[in-house]
Symmetry: C2
Subunit: 529 residues, 2 copies
């Protein structure tokens, strides 16, 4: 069978490859016999050159065209749903008719939300100071490389997911590097993207896709001046290598790396609804075999009878639930190593802790526990992310120690506090929340963090190492678009040369901040258009 082609400069073409690779069927734990190319640096250069030209053209296009493309692409994904889901199911083992239906709907929905953000242009946040005639807005930054993760082949996919949608919606061409665990799924999506791009007359090179490159070429790409920004979701190690390369040339790189998503269950909540919370927690932890970025990997409780009951309840639910399939052998090994590391740092195994037990790549649903004393003595190692259906319960001896534990946390995507409905936990809540608040992007009450709503108010982000910058969200239009933009100021620019967004006349219900007030009106201005 021929090696699959790459999408460069608007064309599917044979890869100038340095080798090939195959994806795996996780349930069968065998390779899928389709060859995907490892692109050479010359191929990266071709993509970069094409993206530069595409960007020049995109900058001249009305933003409506970009919105049309995104919507057309969303429609095409919906229309090819079954084929895309079937291949994604084969490559990832994610359930065909539940999870992947939801994820596909989320994916096309995100693309449509991004299109709406493009149309309304409100993400550009135009600011006009009429007294000085200085005007500014956020604008496209240039070609963006997107490295998608293994765990959301569609909704975070490098050619279909949140980073892709945000980068395109902000007016940038995208070079997507498929995740090696689902190259076929990415290929189908890229096919639809290119057809939609052709149909909506987008410049060649607006959407490009390669499957894999050598690590050294990844770093070279990150440093290349033709590339303006990077979106990366994946392992911490590889992400930090790319970050270092991008940082060295002052290039914005947005990362989503790892997060244990602490959940504090305060004593009153345990008294009130121990079993109910154990249910919720189990559902959240085991969903997608625990392979979620917002998977609750750490639960903090105060020692006591109820805490013991809670741990026993979780363990019994974990043990009784079917063991899911993991994405890959390396995922299974990674989970194994992480659990071993937690144990070697003093965590005690309550249940699970063994590889296998499910179809294909798998690892037993695992509950570990550790004392608050042990945690604060060795906080770094005990925050190791165990990516999969494994969670660590930290049993603190007091509310004060819960606070100490939280004070040792690295940056996380989410943090959650369960408290009694009757308000009896409120003083404890007030004591611990400041510490948690500064360490997480999204704070929740009485709710598990999995299930990241695509909302303009969402922050799917957080302090390092959850992400690379605590000021940006990866989910939710219009906010996510700002990552792939630069701030552009226009100082005394002749009126006819201003971008439409900044002209006196409002180009169509765009929200603009004029002299300190948000308005959809025109500028009542001394300057003539």
């Amino acid at each position: 069978m021929a090696t699959h082609q790459v999408l460069i400069n608007g064309q599917w073409r044979d890869s100038d490859s340095t080798g090939t690779f195959q994806a795996n069927d996780p349930r069968a734990a065998t390779a899928i016999p389709e060859d995907y190319p490892i692109s050479s640096w010359a191929e990266c250069e071709a993509a970069l050159d094409s993206a530069v030209v595409a960007f020049e053209k995109l900058r001249q296009m009305p933003r409506e065209n970009i919105a049309d493309f995104l919507e057309k692409y969303a429609d095409r994904i919906d229309a090819r749903s079954e084929e895309i889901r079937t291949l994604a199911h084969q490559e990832t083992a994610l359930p065909l008719d539940t999870r992947l239906v939801g994820e596909l709907g989320r994916t096309s929905g995100q693309l449509r939300q991004a299109a709406a953000a493009t149309r309304s242009a409100s993400w550009c946040m135009p600011v006009i100071d009429s007294a000085t005639n200085i005007r500014s807005c956020y604008a496209a930054i240039g070609p963006v490389a997107v490295f998608g993760p293994n765990n959301f082949p569609l909704a975070f996919g490098s050619i279909s997911g949140g980073d892709f949608a945000a980068a395109i919606a902000a007016g940038n061409p995208v070079i997507g590097k498929a995740n090696s665990m689902h190259p076929g799924t990415t290929r189908l999506l890229a096919e639809e993207a290119q057809i939609a791009a052709d149909e909506t007359k987008m410049p060649a090179g607006t959407v490009q896709m390669i499957y894999r490159i050598a690590h050294a070429d990844g770093e070279k790409l990150a440093r290349d001046p033709r590339l303006a920004a990077i979106g990366y979701t994946g392992s911490r190690h590889a992400g930090l290598v790319l970050k270092q390369a991008a940082d060295s040339v002052g290039k914005p790189i947005y990362l989503e790396l790892s997060s244990v998503n602490p959940i504090v269950v305060l004593p009153g909540a345990l008294d009130e609804r121990c079993e109910e919370i154990a249910d919720e927690l189990t559902g959240s932890c085991l969903m997608g075999s625990g392979q979620f970025c917002t998977n609750p990997g750490m639960i903090v409780v105060q020692a006591g009878e109820k805490a013991d009951q809670f741990i026993a309840s979780i363990a019994s639910r974990f043990s009784g639930a079917p063991v899911g399939t993991l994405f890959s052998q390396s995922g299974q090994t990674g989970l194994e190593n992480a659990v071993d590391q937690l144990k070697s740092a003093g965590a005690e195994q309550v249940c699970g802790g063994t590889p296998g037990g499910g179809e294909g790549y798998s690892y037993a649903n695992t509950v570990l526990k550790v004392s608050g004393d042990a945690f604060v003595t060795n906080p770094e190692q005990l925050q190791t992310e165990a990516f999969g259906a494994s969670t660590l319960v930290v049993v603190a001896d007091s509310i004060g120690q819960i606070n100490e534990v939280l004070g040792q946390l690295e940056g996380n995507l989410t943090g959650c506090i369960y408290s009694a409905q009757d308000g009896s936990d409120d003083p404890h809540y007030d004591e611990i929340v400041p510490n948690l608040r500064q360490r997480v992007g999204r704070l929740l009450n009485d709710k598990m963090p999995t299930g990241v709503a695509v909302s303009p108010a969402m922050n799917h982000g957080g302090p390092f190492p959850a992400t690379g910058h605590p000021g940006f969200t990866a989910v939710g239009a219009p906010g996510s678009l700002l990552r792939f933009s630069m701030l552009q100021c226009f100082d005394d620019i002749r009126p006819h040369r201003l971008p439409d967004l900044l002209k006196n006349k409002n180009p169509g219900n765009v929200w603009r901040n004029i002299d300190g007030q948000w308005t959809q009106a025109d500028v009542e201005a001394p300057v003539k258009d």
Copy 2:
């Protein structure tokens, strides 16, 4: 004479110093006999610990208190104007009654604008999605270190300038490291800051000031987990060292490093008003002895008779103008080296090019020129920033080559195009502006870039290496505050626990984005407060 004290944890105290240094009087080219301490790492730690405690308290304070502090401090600076300016004049040689009057007024004005941004809270950009009950806003990030530059002892000073004002206004404590060239000025400002902080009951450690630390301790500070963010303005070399340290731990660092601020004068503009532009340019280039971050260091013209006349005009004005005093011996040496480097890359000296000629540290007003061919062959070296009264004219052979020259530019703070009033240059403008636009933070028409208005629409920023991130401005409230913030999302948080800004009831004319619309109204919501 005793070594001056440092300001730690709300107290002036003897430094735990590892040595001392003295500032210079640039006009006399001699040391000023006042000893300032080089703080030990233990002293940095004391400041960090105090800042952490101060931040916990600041987070509980009503934002009005912070605004009160900033305003009180602004008043105190105005009241002590003469003494502050006199010392600044001695330490920097900046004119006492013109430039420093303007700079002091700008400084207190900036502090008041920052206070207004704090009061209105609109910089927090609250976003409320009432359907999902997800709410978010920008919030204080934590202790911030500010490293101020040599060239604006007040308006960019580490304890009084834009970064300081923005960091405090966003709710963060500041550890200011004085610039070694004006420690005395910084001391006077810090005195007023602390008195204002005491008067307004700010937590001890809200404002702290040290004079100098070892380079290794600077890097250690940048990596320290107690520090949340950094603002740095100064030399590229030192800035990149700090950046690497901060990047290694994923900490936001905002830098302003270097910029040649290209100015293109199109042929029609030269035909129309060659002498007028030469006048403007000379004024802009020689202002403050050329020691401005937005100093025009590179002029691009198309070859021809008018271009020759323009160069001759500039040269005659530069030669006829008095030679200003530079901040320091190292400034003089740096300028000397930069001019030499430009020459060794092929630039031809039109006038100047020799050290001395003014009072104290000085260097002749210098005009260099180089062909467009030479520039595009060696663009990196020919973009060397010559910090002082020196400018390089690039003489391109065509508009196409002007565009090629612009295409080789690194990121800059500003870029400016002068064009004919009669529209005859407009096709040229359209050809070159896309290339320039993406490479600069602020684009200007027919106007020199010096004089950075403190406006909400200002972008004093730009792509690397002008700054470290193209999405942020260092000047202009409320935008500059966003640098020292993190995005905080509240997902289904119980209503009484929400920050006031995100409660259903608007806390007082705050602009909030509710369900996609900017409004100062309350949330009409299903959720009860």
